[in-house]
Amino acid sequence: MNARILLLALFLPVAALAQGFAGLGQETEGFTLPDPDRDLTFPVDHGAHPDFRTEWWYVTAALTGADGRDYGVQWTLFRSSLAPGGPQVWMAHLGVTTPDAHVSGERLGHDETGQAGVSVAPFEAWLDDWHLVSDDDGIGDLRLEARTAEAGYELTLRAEGPIVLHGENGYSVKSASGQASRYYSQPFYTVTGTLHLPSGPVEVTGQGWLDREWSSQFLEADQAGWDWFSLHFEDGARLMAFVLRGDEPFRYASWIAPDGTTTPYYGNALSAEPMGVAEVEGRDVPVRWRLRLPQRGLDVTVAAVNAQSWQDTLFPYWEGPVRAEGSHPGRGYLEMTGYE
């Protein structure tokens, strides 16, 4: 059995282009849709929501090594429900970025074999030996471990602020016609640990971000991809912003004050302009952006630490650490999908 073909089946169905990036714009019949009136409850909502088609646990961290260099780490566990009430298929991604290299990794699994899953008490999200684990049912203190034959990491994540809800009470609209997800983050992690690089281990420290999102239809059929930013500013504020590229771009930003107070901004409140592209794996990818949120006085240039932060996975995408300069200097992560 060829897992590549299998994966394409999961995430890139035949009419992938008409269904948004990675099949996230598929029909929803039989799946539960996000309910804006339901409050998120923890720790239950840290766990899986199998009635929804797709879900992820997404960790990024912009790090500095003991050697003074910039590093970046990504770890994602995807859950995909093949059919309402049907088999749950799991996929994990790993990304390790240095200023001059990027290592990506990928694992697949099926929860009925015990290979993958998420438990709530204590919290653990795992696929094989890649896992994000807590000693209790919270996500305030986490250990993250994953490695491939090339590279890996062992990190400790300690939250120094509250969980934040995006959109309206964690109901995040993704298009003008109402596609939406449930979406919350823990953007206040301080991260310490070790990166295992081909050249040897490096002690690192930095700031981390956990995204939790689930839905049955993220994208409108015409939305081909997105550009997603998570930034930690030096003044303690955080920004999550995304642009869904479609016939009409759909823009959203969450301004997170240092105390966790979150303000949503829609539409033209946010402006994101590509400032420069790099050729990555034979395609042009904008790795330098100007990001403006005038209502917050934000006007920064966001640039990739390593322009070649390419996740060479079944559906490939760009994901890597960035530095922001301008009105709000800071660091963070950029994810760009759907660039063909």
């Binding site: 060829n2 089946a9 088999p87 015990g114 290979q115 030996d129 896992h131």
Partner: protein, 791 residues
């Protein structure tokens, strides 16, 4: 100009339809045998590759033990890159169910198409399984999707679905994928009961079947060579006969280059026609033989091959390529000669024959060199390839030596002959030799292959039957489902039989490779019958005391440890080899201890299998009593007679294909001889007519021609027998040892050889029949024409 010239050239074939038939049939036969064999090989290879890939166990180390999916998860979560496999045959089903995990199975495996989410969902849910076309699947299974890429006889299901179908919570093994890191936690800490098993060196199925396929390919090439002889003869004749026409055409202003081009186009046309016919023929042959091949491979090696053919472009393209190459070789020479030969060169058969003297000398030297090379390779070479190189050198050397030897014999005959007629017969036969030598070489090869393979099969059969008689000494073999039933069974049998001999065994590692360790009681059944090739003195007494072990020939050959040496028997510890027994048909190593020594070495193996000694007459009644009294598993009760029958069946199937190819090769050689004699018959008229004019009857001439064919065939057969025996020796003593790990004694079969020689003579008589009959019935006016033509 082209059209007129082409018309003139092609008119030749209208006037000589037999030659046209010879050419096309020869080419078709050559291509057909080649493509047929290629098709069989390609299909069988494809099938094993699929089987190996589907199982993913061809070259991967694996973890074995009492395993469940929880153990799989444990290993995965500790970082071990393993994938689970469940492999079993459900009750009442002939197909094997193979459970795999699509997410972790090796990427190079056979690929059921799960691109459609609905299919993937159904597969994971157990609502969809995959199987090859023609695999019998009971209706109790969910939807079966037929896929040509899956190994025949296999049903591929999700591991969970397979567990449900097979009614088990277990998995059979886990394959360790190549990407394993080296800092993984030790297996013993994670799963104390499990063990890691390394893949067998070389891949057992691959090694065994390779020999079978090399064998087939050798036959294919041989058949092709024989076919080429035919084509060569026909093309050469057509060029020779049209030489006056070529002369005329060129005199009329057709440029030589254009003529050559036209003739080359003609050759291409023949390639396409003959090649296409040959491919159809080959396909037909392969379709007929493949079921036998499939039976052979599954019976002997446990390799699964479908009885159906797929029309792979590789082999039909190779068919056309071979046809083209063949015609290029056969026709290129003639074209080249045409371009070089003076237009007015007269036909001088004797001059040609004399020019061949140099060729004969070179052939003789070449043949001797090849034979010497064959001997050297046989003595110093190692490996299967060396075995086949030796075979090839032997056959080619013998074929090359045939014309010089025949020529010498005929020259001697001509010198010794008393009467004018006999002298002419010998001398004329010698003169015909160049025209017939290709066909005779083909006949030699076909006969030698027949003698060789026949002798090998005969030796194999005799040895194998004798060995079966020895190994299957007990009259009845019974297997209980569990220990409790075994105890009951023993109580039941006590007093009903002469002896109950428990058979216990376990898989273990023998000298580092997987093998089987058995325990057997000390009993006269074994002492009197067990076939020992080599042993220390007092072998049975020493074994009975619990010391040492017996090992099979395969293990002895592989490790080079014979009687007196020590071997590492894994669970059975290091022990002295007390004896080596022959163990045909088993690719694995095997060792035998006494029952007590076995139990001491390997605890907790229950005695559930028994060999029963009982008077043969009482076997049916006892078998009935046992099966009436006990609920035994399928194949739980086997009597010696049917076990022997089964074993012999497998054996017969193994060589059915070889035998069929033997007959086909002989037929092709016969056809070559017929074609050569028929064409020579027409060419030789100017040489025969004067003898007739000097007072010989047509009948006498015809009988002389027949005698000539018989003399040549008889001498060829006489030379083929030593060649064939040498071939058999190489097969038995070199190829077999390399391929199977056992050596068989060569048993001479003079009766068979005599019969075969007779067949060769009969074939020659049949081949000569038409030209002889034509000469016999030839109107005198036609013979007179030979003289009249001279005006």
């Amino acid at each position: 100009m082209n059209r007129a010239a082409l018309g003139a050239l092609l008119a030749h074939w209208r006037r000589h339809p037999l030659q046209l038939l010879t050419l096309v049939v020869g080419l078709a036969l050559a291509t057909g045998l080649w493509t047929g064999v290629q098709a069989i090989n390609a299909q069988a290879r494809l099938d094993y590759a699929e089987a190996a890939a589907t199982l993913g166990q061809d070259d991967l180390p694996r973890i074995e033990g009492d395993l469940t999916l929880a153990d799989f998860a444990t290993l995965r979560r500790a970082g071990w890159p393993v994938t689970p496999v469940l492999d079993g045959t459900p009750l009442g089903m002939r197909a094997r169910v193979l459970g795999i995990d699509p997410f972790t199975a090796p990427q190079n495996g056979a690929t059921p198409d799960l691109t459609d989410t609905a299919d993937l969902t159904a597969f994971l849910d157990g609502r969809l399984v995959f199987a090859a076309e023609g695999t019998a699947v009971p209706e109790t299974l969910p939807e079966v999707r037929r896929l040509p890429d899956i190994a025949p006889g296999l049903v591929v299901a999700d591991i969970l679905a397979a567990q449900a179908i097979l009614g088990t919570e277990q998995i059979d093994r886990m394959l360790i994928l190549p990407e394993a890191r080296d800092d993984l936690p030790p297996l013993a800490d994670l799963l104390p009961g499990a063990r890691r098993v390394e893949p067998e060196a070389g891949g057992e199925i691959g090694r065994l079947t390779d020999s079978f396929h090399l064998n087939l390919t050798a036959f294919g090439l041989l058949a092709f060579a024989v076919g080429l002889f035919i084509v060569h003869a026909a093309i050469g004749l057509a060029f020779e006969q049209r030489r006056p026409l070529f002369r005329t055409l060129r005199a009329l202003g057709l440029p030589a280059s254009r003529l050559t081009l036209l003739l080359a186009a003609e050759l291409v046309a023949f390639t396409l026609i003959g090649g296409a016919l040959g491919i159809v023929l080959g396909y037909g042959m392969a379709a007929l033989l493949l079921p036998n091949v499939a039976a052979t491979l599954s019976g002997l090696y446990g390799a699964s091959v479908a009885g159906g053919l797929t029309l792979a472009p590789t082999w039909w393209l190779s068919g056309f390529a071979m046809a083209g190459i063949g015609l290029a070789v056969a026709g290129g020479q003639s074209l080249w000669q045409l371009a070089r030969l003076p237009v007015l060169a007269p036909a001088m058969p004797r001059a040609w024959a004399r020019a061949r003297l140099g060729t004969l000398y070179r052939q003789g030297v070449g043949g001797l060199v090849l034979l010497a090379a064959a001997v050297l390779v046989a003595v110093f070479g190692t490996g299967l390839v060396a075995g086949f190189v030796c075979l090839g050198a032997l056959l080619l050397g013998a074929a090359l030596l045939l014309p010089p030897i025949l020529s010498a014999v005929l020259a001697l005959g001509a010198r010794r002959a008393k009467g004018a007629l006999t002298q002419w017969l010998w001398a004329d036969t010698q003169q015909q030799l160049p025209g017939l030598s290709l066909a005779l070489m083909a006949l030699l090869l076909a006969l030698a292959a027949n003698v060789g393979v026949g002798t090998m099969v005969g030796s194999f059969r005799a040895t194998f039957t004798g060995w079966l008689d020895q190994r299957l000494a007990a009259e009845l073999y019974v297997r209980a489902t569990d220990e409790a039933q075994a105890t009951e069974l023993r109580a039941f049998l006590d007093g009903r039989v002469d002896a109950i001999l428990p058979i216990v065994g376990t898989e273990t590692s023998l000298e580092g490779a997987p093998g089987d360790l058995y325990g057997q009681p000390d009993h006269s059944t074994f002492r009197e019958n067990w076939p020992l090739l080599d042993s220390v003195p007092e072998v049975w007494d020493r074994l009975a005391t619990g010391e040492g072990a017996l090992i099979n020939e395969q293990l002895a050959r592989r490790t080079g440890n014979w009687s007196g040496a020590e071997v590492d028997l894994g669970a059975g510890e290091r022990r002295e080899v007390l004896g080596v027994y022959s163990d045909y048909g088993n690719p694995r190593g095997q060792a035998i201890l006494t029952l007590d020594a076995f139990h001491a070495a390997v605890p907790d193996v229950p005695e559930t299998r028994f060999a029963l000694r009982v008077a043969p007459a009482e076997v049916p009644a006892l078998a009935e009593a046992i099966s009436a009294r006990f609920d035994l598993p399928a194949e739980g009760l086997v009597d010696q007679a049917s076990l022997k029958g089964f074993s012999l069946d497998i054996f017969e199937q193994t060589f059915a294909v070889t035998a069929a190819l033997n007959v086909l090769t002989l037929l092709v050689a016969g056809f070559a001889l017929w074609a050569s004699l028929t064409t020579l018959g027409t060419m030789r008229l100017p040489q025969v007519a004067p003898v007739w004019a000097l007072g010989l009857t047509r009948r006498g001439l015809a009988l002389a021609d027949l005698a000539r064919a018989l003399i040549l065939a008889a001498f060829t057969a006489v030379l083929a027998i030593p060649t064939g025996v040498a071939l058999a020796w190489v097969l038995l003593a070199v190829v077999n040892v390399q391929a199977f790990g056992w050596r068989l004694p060569l048993l001479a079969d003079p009766g068979g050889w005599a019969v075969l020689s007779l067949w060769a003579v009969v074939a020659a008589a049949l081949a000569a029949a038409l030209p002889v009959w034509r000469l016999w019935r030839m109107p005198p006016a036609q013979l007179v024409q030979v003289f009249a033509h001279e005006r």
